[in-house]
């Protein structure tokens, strides 16, 4: 009996309780709620079967939000990795100076709250007094022009998040075996060949990790949409998570919101599994 109450078991028990309350139960509740007409604020919880899914899947706004979500995720992940990898390679180079300083500078946006960053970028994008138009001599209503609004949000998101990818890639680069590169140099490989045939393949586990974590983050992104465009102009920047937020916390249709969340859950699971399959990795690298 005494052995049960040792330090290790107590900690594990607390973690199990924590995950049960804050992870497993909410997931179960979302699945169950998706089958109900559910408004917790007035205690409504009526079983409706698959009605919520039917309503969601026949809603044009849902499909346009899905399309926007994929565009947002694809370009955000692509540029986050591109910029992060590029800067990591530069900072890892023997020619680079003040590495610690630049690492800190580049990582700073990542630790800044997204809400604050979003507000600042709303001002930067302002067509009347925004610095972006002034600095580049442009005349674009970034957040109110439907062809620019989503790219503008993607640009802000990439700026905010590339530091994370940079640090991950920098860690990956530091862990690469130096003797392999020395051997390649002796064999006459140039820098591009070294990068393309050695560095990039050796960074595959890190890349996969960054892609999957970015994918999960961006499929759930809504804060920047809420602050910068509220889904507008019209409905041109609605993404799935913003739609879920609006359905749950503006209209209090938790049943519909749960049905959308279940669909999002399935999408993330399928995409993650597909990525593992395509990359041929058995397990998530850490």
């Amino acid at each position: 009996m005494q052995k049960i109450f040792n330090f290790k078991n107590v900690i594990i028990l607390l973690l199990v309780i924590h995950f049960s309350i804050f992870l497993i139960y909410p997931i179960y509740k979302a699945f169950a709620g998706s089958l109900h007409d559910w408004n917790p604020l007035i205690g409504q919880y009526d079983f409706v079967g698959f009605e919520n899914f039917k309503h969601v899947l026949t809603n044009n706004l849902f499909w346009s939000a899905i399309r926007n979500t994929f565009i947002f995720v694809f370009f955000s992940v692509l540029f986050r990795i591109g910029v992060g990898l590029g800067l990591a390679v530069m900072l890892h180079s023997k020619l680079a100076k003040f590495k610690g300083f630049f690492r800190a500078i580049f990582y700073m946006p990542t630790v800044t709250p997204l809400v604050a960053v979003s507000f600042v970028w709303v001002w930067l994008y302002d067509p009347q007094f925004g610095l972006i138009n002034k600095f580049f001599g442009l005349d674009i209503n970034w957040l109110r022009d439907s062809s620019w609004a989503l790219p503008a949000i993607i640009m802000m998101t990439v700026w905010k998040d590339f530091g994370y990818a940079m640090v991950m890639f920098l860690g990956g680069l530091m862990a690469l075996p130096e003797d392999v590169f020395e051997a390649a140099n002796i064999d006459g490989a140039n820098r591009w060949q070294c990068f393309w045939y050695m560095t990039w393949p050796l960074l595959k586990p890190t890349t996969l990790f960054v892609v999957i974590t970015s994918l999960i983050t961006y499929l759930q992104a809504y804060v920047q949409i809420l602050i910068m465009t509220e889904g507008g102009p019209g409905t041109s920047t609605y993404v799935i998570s913003y739609l879920i937020f609006e359905e749950a916390f503006v209209r209090y249709n938790f049943g519909l919101a749960s049905a959308m969340a279940v669909i999002l859950f399935v999408m993330i699971a399928v995409l993650t599994a597909a990525l593992f399959k395509i990359s041929g990795e058995g397990e998530m690298p850490l």
């Binding site: 330090f7 067509p127 009347q128 507008g232 102009p233 503006v250 249709n253």
Partner: protein
């Protein structure tokens, strides 16, 4: 030693959980034995007699929840506690977003606040938990305007304490620079367009000063414009939104023409008309009373004035605009009888006392519904309230309609303005979306209780 530490740690955690989950409420306070407080009875028809004991003089604590630290009920609570030293009214302030999640959840149990601030936009989620006012409806009607639209099956659960509506805010300095005087204040929309053109400035093709800017405020304007032409916001006995109609089309085209034909503003001239006006870049904007305080707080250098929203002709319209109200408090029907009794008494104290309405009116730049304040010098000295006062009777309230009526209207106008969507098609799509989103609500408009409803176009 290690085992001892583990047990101690485990016990500490259990204690922390128990302390965290325990209730902190207790009845600490004084007893009150003074029946005669030596105070006069307050009020005109809703009366409050302070010369009594409440809760039989025993100490009692109730909670009042609000989202607004300028809520006049907070000062009234202090005054009430002075009269009844055995009563403690704990003020709990939560920001707006948190408030509307926490309050309905707290009201489901038996230990929610006894009394709380109400906003009519949240009517649907509050309705199941509201106790009726323990005040005769005739007394409420005698003391307050607009009570009728809040009577449900012979009961009032909350009503308007203040009302507000739209006005035109104008920059006096820009007005003067353009050679305009007080005599040029427009009464009709045609006159308004001419004034706006005079106030517009360009550097070549580039707009440098908007005569009128409505970026971000379309949803509020179109409702008023429709009412001015006798068109109600809801049809089919108030159950179906009336968005896609000839008048909305005409008014939307009018607003679009102000930018695209008359050139008094531009969709790309800032995304927020209020900010643009505050920065002195727009000469006129349409906004409600709250904007008065916003300007004074955030843009103290702007020298501005207020005039009534113009009308299509100089004839009196069906209604000048929609109004919306700040509500009187709600009482939690799930609380104990003792708590509810104190809440009802405190409510009566607020409603009988003119200070409650006066303080709220001046703090929120909203017109009091209390009849005794209709000609109050403090109220009429306020620039916004002075403009609302002559129009109060001709303001209409459709009821606490679902948010989609406004959010979809904004999306519709953005689709027209920014995405180049055809107006007719945008209105059809907007109507369809509003109807779809209102499908599961039991909303019914109270426009029919408007005293001039017979003048509406059907």
């Amino acid at each position: 030693m290690k085992k001892c530490f583990s047990k101690l740690f485990f016990l500490t955690i259990i204690c922390v959980f128990l302390v965290a989950c325990s209730s902190t409420s207790g009845e600490a306070g004084k007893r009150d034995e003074l029946l005669d407080k030596g105070l006069d009875v307050m009020g005109q028809n809703v009366l409050f007699d302070p010369n009594k004991l409440v809760n039989e003089g025993e100490p009692i604590t109730i909670e009042y929840w609000t989202w607004n630290d300028g809520d006049p009920a907070i000062e009234m609570a202090k005054a009430y506690e002075e009269i009844y030293p055995n009563v403690t009214i704990e003020i709990v302030i939560n920001p707006w977003e948190d408030f509307w999640i926490k309050l309905p959840l707290a009201l489901q149990g038996s230990d929610g606040p006894a009394i709380f601030n109400v906003h009519n936009s949240q009517n649907e989620i509050l309705e199941p938990y509201l106790a009726p006012y323990d005040i005769a409806i005739e007394d409420l009607q005698a003391d307050f305007n607009f009570v009728d639209s809040h009577i449900q099956e012979g009961h009032v659960y909350y009503m308007d304490s203040l009302i507000n509506t739209g006005n035109i805010y104008y920059n006096k300095d820009l007005w003067e620079e353009a050679g305009l005087t007080e005599a040029d204040i427009p009464k009709t929309w045609d006159q308004f367009t001419e004034v706006a053109k005079t106030l517009t400035q360009r550097d070549g093709d580039r707009l440098t000063q908007a005569g009128f800017n409505f970026n971000g405020t379309y949803d509020a304007i179109y409702q008023g414009l429709n009412y001015q032409k006798g068109i109600l916001l809801f049809k089919d006995e108030g159950t179906v939104v009336n968005f896609d109609n000839e008048t909305t089309l005409e008014n939307t085209q009018f607003l679009l023409d102000l930018y695209e034909v008359e050139g008094v503003g531009d969709k790309d001239f800032g995304s927020d008309a209020n900010q643009s006006f505050g920065n002195g870049q727009s000469a006129m904007v349409y906004n409600w009373g709250w904007y008065f305080n916003e300007l004074q707080t955030n843009y103290p250098d702007i020298n501005f004035g207020v005039f009534p929203t113009p009308t299509p002709t100089e004839e009196t319209p069906l209604a000048y605009d929609r109004y919306n109200g700040e509500s009187t408090p709600g009482i939690n029907e799930n609380q104990s009888d003792a708590q509810q009794a104190i809440a009802q008494d405190f409510l009566r104290f607020c409603l009988a006392n003119d200070e409650y309405s006066r303080k709220g009116a001046l703090a929120l730049a909203s017109f009091p519904t209390k009849r005794s304040l209709a000609e109050d010098p403090d109220i009429l000295a306020h620039p916004v309230l002075a403009e609302i006062a002559p129009r109060v009777e001709r303001l209409i309230w459709p009821g606490a309609f679902p948010a989609t009526v406004e959010t979809t209207a904004i999306q519709t106008f953005e689709d027209i303005l920014f995405n180049g969507k055809d107006i007719s098609q945008a209105l059809i799509d907007g109507q369809s979306k509003m109807e779809s989103e209102m499908r599961n609500t039991n909303f019914r408009s109270v426009e029919s209780s408007f005293q001039f409803i017979d003048e509406a176009s059907h």
